[in-house]
Each structure stands twice: as C-alpha cells, then as structure tokens.
Symmetry: C2
Subunit: 231 residues, 2 copies
Amino acid sequence: MSVRHQHPRPCVAVDCVVFGIDLERQDLEVLLVQHDLAPQAGGWALPGGHVSFDESVEAAAVRELGEATGLERVFLEQLYTFGAVARDPRTRVVSVAYYALVNLADQRVRAATGARDAAWFGVHGVPALVLDHEEILAKGRERLRGKVRYQPIAFELLPPKFTLTQLQQLYEIILERALDKRNFRKKITKMDLLVELDEVQADVAHRAARLYRFDERRYEKLVKQGLMFEL
Amino acid sequence: MSVRHQHPRPCVAVDCVVFGIDLERQDLEVLLVQHDLAPQAGGWALPGGHVSFDESVEAAAVRELGEATGLERVFLEQLYTFGAVARDPRTRVVSVAYYALVNLADQRVRAATGARDAAWFGVHGVPALVLDHEEILAKGRERLRGKVRYQPIAFELLPPKFTLTQLQQLYEIILERALDKRNFRKKITKMDLLVELDEVQADVAHRAARLYRFDERRYEKLVKQGLMFEL
C-alpha cells in the first residue's frame, strides 16, 4: 500500500438525487435547489454540501437531505462517487452521491419540500444543472430503473392495500415505460407475493378494483434470495 | 447548498478488491497485500492508497491496481465508498472501493501478481484484514454475486469456445453455490444466447463435450435490455 502525503487534499462532498413519486399524477420528479456559489450561482443543482471532518459521509448525506427537504427517515442509499479532477471549477471536490425516494402523494412531503429555494421537476423536464449534476442525475435514474427489478425499494411508496393497477403504475413510473397489463399480472402472480383481500376500492366512480397486500414472509424470503422482477 | 470551509479535510483513498477466478481449480480468490503502516504493519490488506490532488479517483484505482498486480486493462468497477469517521485510526480517510476481476487460469496473470508482498487467498480462507477491509471484501463478494445475474461481467473469463459445464462452473464459482445442471441448461437455452458449434473438446480423457460460443448480436441486445440470469 503506497501512501502519498500530499497537500492540498481533495474536498469530500455529498450530493443527493431525491426522487419523488406521485402515483396519482403518474409522475417521477426530482428535487432541485438553487446553487448559491459563483460562478454558477442561481443555477439549478442537486442538494448537497461538504462532508465535515468529524461526520461520516452517510451522516453528511442525511444532514444535507434534511436541510434541503425538511424530511427525516426517507429511503436513502449510496449511488456512486464522482471523482473527476475538474468536475468543480472552484477546487478539487470528490462527491459521494446518494439517492432518495419519497412519496409525493403525501401532502406533508410536498409541503415540507416546498420551502426554501427548492422545487420539484418532472424528470423529463429538468433544466440545465450546474457542474456534473446532470451526469449524477442520469446515474440516479439508471440505478432506480435497475434496482427496482431486484430489490423492493419502491414498495413502501404504496398504501398498505393497493390495486394491481397501482402496483403496475408504480413500476411504470420508475421504469419510465409502459408495461403490458396481462404480462405484468402474470409475472406478479407467478411470484406469489401478493395476498388477495376480500375488499375492493372504496370511493371510486368506475368499477371498484380488488385490493391486495404483500405477503410479508414470502416477501422477506424473496428479498433474501434476490428478488427478480423480469418486467 | 451549504458549504462549510473546514480544516482539516478528510483524505481520499482507493481500495481494490481484486477477484481472481480459476476455472480449472474451481476457485474464487482475492488478492491481498501486506500492509506497511503502523499500527497494523504486516497485516493483510486490500491493495490501495491515497488519491492525489491532480488525479481522478478512477485513475488512482487503476494506478494502485497496476502497482499491486502488474496488470493493466482488467475489468474494474466502482464498488462503494466507505466513509465512517473512525475507519482508519491514523487519520480521517474516506475510501472509494473498486472491484476487479482477473483470470487466474492465465499463467501470465498468476506470474505478474505473484511478485512483491502480495498473495492470493481463496475467499473462504481469508486471514484477518486490517481496518474495515473485511467489510469492503464482503461488499465486493455481495456485488459480484448480484452483478453476475444481470450483467455479463464474467463472460470474458471464458475461452472463446467453451462447454456448458465450464459456463456452469463459472457461475457456481461466482455465486458460491452449486447449481442444478438440468435447470441451468434449461435457463441458458431459453436465453438463446449460445451458438452450438460443430466441434467438441479436444485432448480430454473423458467423453468430449460439445463446444459453444456466444452469439454476439443476441448478447449485445440482452445486455441493453438488462440481461437476467435467474439462477
């Protein structure tokens, strides 16, 4: 192991790709903040900031996410570390990117994250971003699409009882493409993951659809094996 | 975006989990080096070192891998960034871990990596490692097992023409478990990925097995879609 004692050291920062899913609006959105530093002050950026000497990288991500969104205890996972030499023109910054998933159908989330100089953008209508943040966002979208096929990261965004249509919509939003209904239901059924309830949707104008819940034990087992949705 | 101008800054380092696969020995091995720094000098460690101010994190990983193994142009991919505050007792170090895959059946690889204070260990017989390197190694094994199910990272470790048994063995080594032969062949056949050749193995004592190669166009297409081996 070769250790070079060199000065100065790169800065370490965190950046967070915060995805918001709104099942009702059928929308995948991303939270952006206004960059406050020259030379790109006023440009849109992913929320983030520097890692202090005495805090872990993950703690810094949780802190920055909290400062940017007012939210605590959201799904947050490390995405990728961006370490190109010239990615920030001000100084050498190595950025550890994280991604988070929040439920925008929850009005408290919309309210909390509406404060400050932050705004939600649909992923297909994102403005130009500062630094390499477009690359970070692209990596986040790619990870989300891939991850949902073998980990149940999005399931907590569903209500405890849900329809098959809602489940399919969740996948469609994250995968950013339409799925064939028949094929989707066949695959979901084959996984034996859902429990059909003796209940149907209430308060709907159209024909009320059957409600389902996850079979938690089966679910845990599939997660352990490495859950696979071939969608 | 809150930026804190604090001193001192954490160091940024890279550590490499170098996996070696030996199809003939049916072995998954990891390359370790002897740590040269107090207080754990002489302990076994993953090869790695500090990122210079003027090199990208990835370039540092390639450089450290080259210094440790004498190898260039191997499969190398970012694994995870380890950023706990006290992970290194000497100073604050944030480590960006990478993993690499090399073919140990290639005698040039064995020869190149046998130099210096380095040694290969079977993953089931790894000695105690310094710092949090056991955690980094565990993460590497987990990633390798997961990755091989949806990306063809290991295919380049096969000879251009191979038997179905060799293909199965490759998967068994990486997944670290035995696979049912019939089931494996059924799934592989269903993927329509292999081209059966008019050739059989040469120079074998037992009954010579049929040889196959990958259908490259089909292969590219599956990779794009997100290849899935449900093994």
